[in-house]
Symmetry: C2
Subunit: 119 residues, 2 copies
């Protein structure tokens, strides 16, 4: 069946959560948001493009930092309200310069830093 | 530092998105939501416990289906507004009986079913 980005289920702000996963290591890198046009742009360009809620604008990941995400595969879930993108991540995915945004674990009630910033 | 679930950043419904990933295969299984008490219950019991938005109640994953998620590691992201749980998934994570909820890919504009229901 032909895919139509408009048929996905967006929240009342027209957005849905997008999980970015490294296609090679399978590490979960980050979660961000897309609207229907960001989904279309991502599929058309192969450059993962989010909607920045803070800036209220399209956000081609890595456009300023160089830390781009090349789309390898785009999948959506059973409820059609969440997307998973498998990506080729150049450089750090996180703005803190860490590989992944999920660098803090909670173990035995304590916060543990799992990775350091890359340079 | 001691972790406090209340310090995470929840949306205006008191919820944040939670990505569940198989700790062994690293497959992304599903995305659901937790409030602060669900985070606390998950850490205390080791049973991944979401907040069901449709039922407006706590949802111990697998409590009725048997398809439980045993918590292996809980991590949160740089913005403190998203959680990643690494889990030991018993049976199918998806209510369609598929291993993962992300079983539909979009390739060349077409929807492709990547996996079939398990028995």
């Amino acid at each position: 069946m032909t895919f139509d980005a408009k048929k996905l289920r967006y929240n009342d702000q027209g957005l849905l959560p997008v999980i970015a996963q490294d296609h090679d290591s399978l590490e979960v890198l980050m979660l961000a948001w897309m609207n229907a046009e960001a989904v279309e742009r991502t599929l058309e360009t192969g450059k993962v493009t989010y909607w920045s809620r803070s800036r209220q604008s399209f956000w081609i990941k890595g456009e300023t930092s160089g830390h781009t995400q090349k789309l390898i595969d785009l999948r959506y879930d059973c409820d059609q309200d969440c997307i998973l993108v498998l990506v080729e991540q150049i450089g750090a995915a996180c703005h803190t310069m860490r590989r992944s945004c999920f660098y803090t674990a909670v173990r035995d009630g304590e916060e543990i830093e799992l990775m350091k910033p890359e340079h």
